[in-house]
Symmetry: D2
Subunit: 230 residues, 4 copies
Amino acid sequence: MPFKSALIVGAGSGLSASLAKLMLKDGMQVALAARSTTKLKEFADLTGARTFECDAAQVYDVEKLFGDLDAARLTPDVVVYNPSYRVRGPLLELDPAEVEKTLAITAFGGFLVAQQAVQRMLPKGEGALLFTGASASVKGYAQSAPFAMGKFALRGLAQSLARELGPQGIHVAHFVIDGGIRSTRRPPDPDKPDAMLDPDAIAETYMQTLKQPRSAWSFEVELRPWVEKF
Amino acid sequence: MPFKSALIVGAGSGLSASLAKLMLKDGMQVALAARSTTKLKEFADLTGARTFECDAAQVYDVEKLFGDLDAARLTPDVVVYNPSYRVRGPLLELDPAEVEKTLAITAFGGFLVAQQAVQRMLPKGEGALLFTGASASVKGYAQSAPFAMGKFALRGLAQSLARELGPQGIHVAHFVIDGGIRSTRRPPDPDKPDAMLDPDAIAETYMQTLKQPRSAWSFEVELRPWVEKF
Amino acid sequence: MPFKSALIVGAGSGLSASLAKLMLKDGMQVALAARSTTKLKEFADLTGARTFECDAAQVYDVEKLFGDLDAARLTPDVVVYNPSYRVRGPLLELDPAEVEKTLAITAFGGFLVAQQAVQRMLPKGEGALLFTGASASVKGYAQSAPFAMGKFALRGLAQSLARELGPQGIHVAHFVIDGGIRSTRRPPDPDKPDAMLDPDAIAETYMQTLKQPRSAWSFEVELRPWVEKF
Amino acid sequence: MPFKSALIVGAGSGLSASLAKLMLKDGMQVALAARSTTKLKEFADLTGARTFECDAAQVYDVEKLFGDLDAARLTPDVVVYNPSYRVRGPLLELDPAEVEKTLAITAFGGFLVAQQAVQRMLPKGEGALLFTGASASVKGYAQSAPFAMGKFALRGLAQSLARELGPQGIHVAHFVIDGGIRSTRRPPDPDKPDAMLDPDAIAETYMQTLKQPRSAWSFEVELRPWVEKF
């Protein structure tokens, strides 16, 4: 692993924990940021990952997060942006405030985090930014306009940054996670455990992407279970 | 033309004026909405189009706009959403407030306008929503992350609405305008006048799209000058 | 209509007849080419369209066709390529000879026809090439590998030609026809006649595309019924 | 590595040799197939890979190849399809026979090889088919119509097979190799060795893709050098 220190924003989901475990195993430092870190405490105590409270959609919070990371000598050379928020339903039933929140958390926060991260990566000419997308990143589903807006926007951000920052040594990648991720809250059918995405398997592909030498980088990476319709 | 009354949001550009002229010529009523209607006055006086002040990114403004249209018996069965805002530059030089504004005007306003419009179209089971995109809607260019975010988000919105509303009789279309639109402010090379998009020509394709019977609707329509690289 | 003379290859389907009728009505000369012209006779007698036998996948046939058109003073400035062939089924049941035939008729014939057509258009610096695709042009469906191969290839051809020939004045467009076209052989549900594509409606959009001035050309045009899932 | 035996078709290029080396190192058996195996002899002697002569575009050759592999107890559970052929130039200068050859080698051969391979994989309910694409797989470049036709067709094949065979346990993946691969024949700029794709780096991502558990498979994988424009 060419990187030393990772920040996972939107930590808490199975994917974040799986990724943190693989990173720690590879000898990396790991910082986890979430709006509330209460749920992360047990995991942090167990693994040695550090936790930080941060609302990624708030300019001040994100600046403070990176200042705190700097102070703790945890300035990341890998940043993973996971947060998303969604509200579903027929167009007429959607609350505009919820749509704004979806855009703020799913896309605008990605911009804020990228800006702070890249400010620290550019002087070194290396680093990696990984954005977690969904099938909604490439297809706008009926009755899910807000999530489509947020995830499309995040993909637009990632594409633009890949084109700007790649030639400056920073690897930007966007993951299209197509299918449900299994979790204790959302367990797979016991007869078909691998019909849902295993967070450890997703995390493994994130790790391999980070290990790619810059002569052969992936930008968009798609992952789906073998039985997923697409 | 199967429609009677149009609202063009983000009026002022050459495209809006061209479109308004064609609609008026086809016997439609035309309402133009813009943040400031000062510049629209001359055109309105000349053509009989009505003008309305509205910041499309503000919930209250958009509700008021549609209320005013209802009161004026101008409830639209065609709504065109043109507004966009952009700020360019290297990631590190971008002002987060400007990024928020880009998302608000370019994408969130599209949601607000669509919601008000569709509320009035659904009971009749017909209507059309046209969204104006750009090459940035499908490709995130370097040093243009905010515009990519906004235009990608608008496309996500349009796709989602097309899938939700098409089967309810509402034609949703998204236009990828790929190239510069000529205007007095941005005149074409006199030797190659058609190397830039003619707003009248774009408007003509919008009109033809509106005239499509529902057995053969276009969702995404792309337009570019013959010499444009793509 | 800026064009005078059209050739429709793969004539016979409802789309070709609808298109020929609109073209003739607009004062264009129309030549119809098909592997067998027997079925075209009645239509030709009725409308004055000329018919030509041609297997579009055969180099010699296509050269002869254009030679005959030249001799008959029917050299086309618009060429529409419709032919397709398909064989469906699980991979293991597909006959390789049928796959070759699918590629030959669906894609290679498009190349042959384009080459002969463009040879005659380039000296004049104008003309139009329209290629008829399908949803299979952009999505490879299960158990339909040959058709996906053929239609993807035709789209690759069309994209390449659009980029090469656009700046030389030739309008290349590719139509993604997404949904079933209604016909006497395949009638629509009488309760939902517009749930299938009306060939007249498709033809109307082809005509509008031909009429686009070169300052604002569409390359890819998609058409689907209002109720079609996509 | 969950697989035991690989067949690389279109062997000879740097990518095939890099891939063969990694597979052999992982304990896999490797068979290399090419139209001429003369150039492969040295590599085969050195590494223990077996070589087979086969024109992948010929039904008989491909059947014989798989029969020979069966006889040699080398029936592959991984098949990589690399062959491509291209002819470039303005449309009017292209030889139709060369276009046919491009389609035959680049796409039709992929079908033939997939059919033989899958016949042997399906009874076991596992296996992997990897198709090597290019930037021309997703964008038809000017003056390169034949290659666009061939590579688009191969992608259509891969998509269709992924949808058909994924739920039957066979992992189908399509690689969009975007950029020049460095080789002795085409060496990189000594000052920027990683400005071209390193075949070892590409091969590493192929290997990681093969190792993905079926709960999280990639279908399309793109690889490009950090400085590549896209």
